[in-house]
Symmetry: C2
Amino acid sequence: MADRRRLIVVSNRGPVTYGTDEHGELVARRGAGGLVTALAPLVTRHDVTWIASAMSQEERELAASGPVEEQAGDGSRYRLRLVAHAPEAYRLYYDTIANPVLWFVQHGLWDWMVDPRADLTVAWRDGYVAVNRAFADAVVQELDRDPGAAVLFQDYHLYIAPRLVRDRRPEAVLSHFVHIPWVGPAAWDVLPSEIVRTIHDGLFANDAVAFHTERWRSAFVESCGAFLGTAAAEGPLVTACPISVDPEEFEQLARRDDVRRRTDDLFPARPERVILRVDRTDPAKNAIRGFRAFGRLLERRADLRGKVGMFALLHPSRLSIPEYEAYAAEVERTAAEINERYGTLEWTPVTLDLRDDFLLSVAAYRDYDVLLVNSIKDGLNLVAKEAPLVNARDGVLVLSREAGAFDELEAWVVPVDPFDVENQADALEHALELPLELRRSWLASIRAQVHAHDLDAWVAAQLAVLDRASTMRA
Amino acid sequence: MADRRRLIVVSNRGPVTYGTDEHGELVARRGAGGLVTALAPLVTRHDVTWIASAMSQEERELAASGPVEEQAGDGSRYRLRLVAHAPEAYRLYYDTIANPVLWFVQHGLWDWMVDPRADLTVAWRDGYVAVNRAFADAVVQELDRDPGAAVLFQDYHLYIAPRLVRDRRPEAVLSHFVHIPWVGPAAWDVLPSEIVRTIHDGLFANDAVAFHTERWRSAFVESCGAFLGTAAAEGPLVTACPISVDPEEFEQLARRDDVRRRTDDLFPARPERVILRVDRTDPAKNAIRGFRAFGRLLERRADLRGKVGMFALLHPSRLSIPEYEAYAAEVERTAAEINERYGTLEWTPVTLDLRDDFLLSVAAYRDYDVLLVNSIKDGLNLVAKEAPLVNARDGVLVLSREAGAFDELEAWVVPVDPFDVENQADALEHALELPLELRRSWLASIRAQVHAHDLDAWVAAQLAVLDRASTMRA
């Protein structure tokens, strides 16, 4: 208990979502998303207050009655403070700024010809800034209750809250983990300079800012130099440490009967070799170029037709945003085009599976020959760590050089350039022909890496950074 | 006559175009485009063979009968060799590769989410490479006739011809001027790596490669390092020298009666103040964000409504390419939107003029109060040099930081960031309010700069580079 800490975790989504059951009773369910899973260990080992947005009518009512005590899956207790936002402010914050603007800019998806979002000024002020202010108010109230607690802001929804807290509580220990890529000054230049400056200034108000890889870290240092004109020494401690998963959790999942049963369901007529991808239908995940690469491979290697199938488990995502809707339609169109061109009565080249079922993903993880992760950019990509843990076919990972996980795993993967369709076709061909011995050795190395650098190690590293930052402040 | 040189100029478009008159006789007309104008002085002072694509049926027939002797406007004679290409090869080269792919990549217009041109391999091989090979064949034949002649390749249509010539004539003196921006490795990464390597290798085969500004020059050195892995010292002499205009030509034009008459035609009801832009309807010119910026200015400064008008002389361009057609439609839609929102019966905020009439542009150059050049990227931008030469209203130049001309003129312009609409609104407001004394002094400084660094000086600099390159080779 000696190193039990007092932490205030701040993220847009909370660790539970509340709804009502068939009797009209309020029930809590574990929240979705990798971030919430990743931060769960904190609750077990420390005294945590978690601040998150109220997402539903039930949560909005709960927010009004103040913080509640919640219980995690393992019985540990934590304090949950939900922040209710005006629905229009939340819509501007989430659907106009955070996802299409910040996510697009930071994943190299911005349309430079015509801005996808033309008039940002109002959405920024009445959405992003307003919601960040509400979060900052909640953090200040929690700090007033416990001034010694350290604050852990999470991700791109909350870039400016740290500045808003810092201005009111200069002595607070504030840290931020950015889970998506950071990009250099030229990429940020597409946004109004005042918005860009405010984002950098907001993060700069932390004692510590962390990213998944050295690449994103150094891009942040560079863009702070460009937009704030400050030397890194004056600002926060900026570190890089890749997030990870709990290997035991995945190994247990893979042994479950309901996972094994799903394998048959997944591949009703399994081809000799399976190329798998598991993503959201996010343009950053680059499914279309992956399908085209598979088409190119079938074009040049007629002998593979009928023997190899590409299975894409794609969870529809953010369809309220027009670009996502258009992209998802284009994904389906591209798959259909390849199937029409190369498919036969007995064999479908590309199978799209849009069911959002985590256990189905785990079943697929067990059973691929080649796993394709060809993201345009990716903060880390957890699939690249999860799937090899449970794969039972000596499967090969084909991994984008632009995924954060590449820096850790590159010695044991077939690398791909996300924009180069020919290169991806070459990589798939190479992966399918890799000798068994090498496949086994690579898979074992990836597993050893993930075991040695697991989620516990990541959490410990984040707390160590907090200690260094607090010491520097003291 | 002592320094009269033997030159082989190679450009896609030639200095004349041939057609037939009403009697069916072949007639030559001066070719359009800034590049041809810029290179015209070479013909007067040197022995020039000009190699260009045959564009029409007449030119194709002319090409078949071999090189012809032509006469320039001032009576000087030069040799013209037209190269006929198969129509489908030319279409792939020009409409698929050179304009939408190379131009888009080098102007920051590429759609990173879904490639605007998905299958480049065939168009590259059967279009761009085939046409470059035909140019290289013609250059080799001309070099065999006169091995001491120096070759001057022009622009992005001919990146790989130098390598194809070099492999067959190792001793030839080859140079290349790239008239559009060069971009760093990350921007090139959107294309297949083999194409990118071939482009860089093609330019690397020259003795000298030149750009309009130091920025494009250093991006080229950087991308050669990334894609060829070679130190700059091993490759061509790489220089930067901005192209210019002939000041006397523009001063004479501005005095012409038919130019003066066009002023009335241009502004039937001239508002107090005129903001002008003169461009092709190319997405790189950024007309839409310019209109939006003017809309923002009218929103915040109601006192300017009715008093200021934006006049956009936009020459429709490359409409056979779908992205250009869509962009041109969006340009019109955006202008209409602003006119609907702010216009009155007496006053139209934005006037679009799509007539392609050079004398009309010169008339407009004389008569603006503010000239807006807000290009996303621009190799140089000649309008920024031409218009101030003849302006008669102490007009202010608002100039994109991303135009090559910015490096020369920045001390005497209001700078703008091309993606930042608010910043452009601020700049227009600032330009309209600039005191007379400063406007006069800035305009005089721009004119002095263009006079001191005119087209003759640029041509002389290019020939001096050729001399250095020949000496290094000897």
